[in-house]
């Protein structure tokens, strides 16, 4: 049970984060399609983080976190555990700042993602799958390398602050959303977005989308404490993680509801996005379009932003 108050965390404002990471990231485009507008009878805007550097939004948080850690102490490397997008993002961010990056990767991680991490210059350490194995391996590394600092993939203030900048771009684009729909995995993205949305768009509602087969965030909010599932089996591989104490606190306070999506709904939504928008979207991203269709009656006439979180699909 979390007792963190988000005021106590002292998040920076998105305006103070955005200028520093702007030179390192893409201002990602908004795409729209008549097909989606007609189904919802609404203005549907897809914020396309599949076109972001390293193929997902994660670079926003990684870049800000590395920058902050570097400016606050004498470190020579960053380290994390990741099976995918965050590892790529951290490797890229470390490369931008000219420091080392060490990533503990479960043996069963997709080869394409491991190769991408290596391509960005990361040192890879393989471990057995499972959260405990990952954390133990990383702990060992950090003990042996005191000049290294751990960057958590989502449950970390600076990472969440970095993700706020996605909303800064909506503001710059002149968009005034009524509702933003965001995929929920560990909760880093939706935390950043809901904090920044409160800041820029006080009337805007943030809603999460999560696979029914990995509905830990939905259950956590319902129960009032973080729920860890023992079994998650979803095609949306980016959304298998549990919340952390920081992301749970933000979600509980800032997110109106979490919609759960079946595997069939995810696949259909992914097909619609790829077939109609002509972009490559991860299954995780497809949850938001599936969620929008489920709450259609709340959306008519409104401006809806759907966050396509990434496009790293293993072809």
């Amino acid at each position: 049970m979390s007792s963190i108050e988000i005021e106590d965390i002292g998040f920076l404002s998105p305006e103070s984060v955005y200028p520093e990471i702007k030179p390192h990231i893409h201002h990602t485009p908004i795409l729209k399609g008549r097909y989606f507008n007609e189904i919802l009878d609404a203005e549907v805007l897809f914020k396309c983080e599949n076109f972001q550097k390293t193929g997902s939004f994660k670079i926003r948080g990684a870049m800000h976190a590395v920058g902050k850690k570097l400016s606050s102490g004498n470190i020579r490397a960053v380290a994390t555990h990741s099976s995918g997008n965050f590892g790529q993002a951290l490797a890229f961010a470390a490369g931008q700042y000219g420091i080392r990056c060490h990533i503990v990767v479960p043996k069963n991680a997709p080869m394409a993602k491991v190769q991408a991490m290596q391509g960005y210059g990361a040192e890879i350490e393989f471990c057995e799958p499972g959260t405990q194995n990952r954390e133990r391996a990383l702990q060992n590394y950090l003990q042996q390398h005191p000049d290294s600092v751990f960057i958590h993939p989502y449950n970390q203030k600076e990472v969440i602050e970095g993700h706020m900048t996605l909303v800064s771009e909506l503001k710059i684009d002149g968009i005034n959303p009524d509702i933003i729909l965001v995929p929920v995995g560990g909760g880093g993205l939706i935390s950043g977005i809901s904090l920044a949305s409160s800041h820029y768009f006080p009337g805007c509602t943030v809603i999460g989308a999560e696979p029914e087969n990995a509905n830990d965030a939905f259950l956590s909010v319902k129960k009032g404490e973080i729920v860890h599932l023992t079994e998650v089996n979803t095609i949306a591989d980016g959304l298998r993680t549990s919340l952390g104490d920081i992301t749970f606190s933000v979600i509980r306070e800032k997110v109106r509801e979490i919609i759960t999506i079946t595997e069939e709904e995810i696949l259909l939504a992914q097909k619609e996005i790829m077939g109609r928008l002509k972009i490559v979207a991860e299954p995780s991203s497809a949850t938001v379009w599936a969620a929008a269709k489920k709450i259609k009656n709340q959306l008519a006439g409104k401006t809806i932003v759907l966050v396509i979180s990434g496009g790293n699909v293993d072809f």
Copy 2:
């Protein structure tokens, strides 16, 4: 053997075509990726017609052709035969001008494309597969409907003129290409592009890309007359058609060479485009990236435009 001289055809200039169709089409984006630049040691620009209305470049030609036909005579409908992208484009264009559209479709056409044509308001008439069956069915329809006019999918002056506008957009974007690589099917797109390229960029070279398994354009240029293949078996379904007399004449005069691509090369190139650019590209479009890799030694240090012709993939 064609004896058409392209001067005798009297093509309009792209400047006179562009303003009229501009309100009806998207100015499609240019995408780039470090991955592609590094492989070719060149500036690689993808012109993304997958984001064009109806999902392919074909709307450019269809829109201009319908507009021209309407302004030159008393017609109430357009008709064509198509198994895919041109049918969608003509149906959309006819809808924009408020006239009927009749499309003869082979029974084995992809269901997604047939549904898209119907979605744009076309009347569909199914026929047995094969060029002769398609032409016969269309001929019957035209005889019974004298207020209808046939728009050829590629071997038609106005269609080719419409496709010129893709190059107008490169000019507007401030791009100054050394080489433009274009997929070759019936030759309408590469005809429009090579004519407009001569106009805007006299020093630019236009090169075609064609499946080895449907290498009729390559053979036609070599032999000096239009070659029809009896068997074509390629995943690049948009490139199975033979040249027409007009497109053959333009290609012979304006296109430097045609590179042929194996099925394996097409699939690998499509994987690279989808995996790295995060866009949905048809196999036909992937031929241009495969061709660029084959002539890598001619491209170093240059500005290369690769035309992604469409994104209509049946998921």
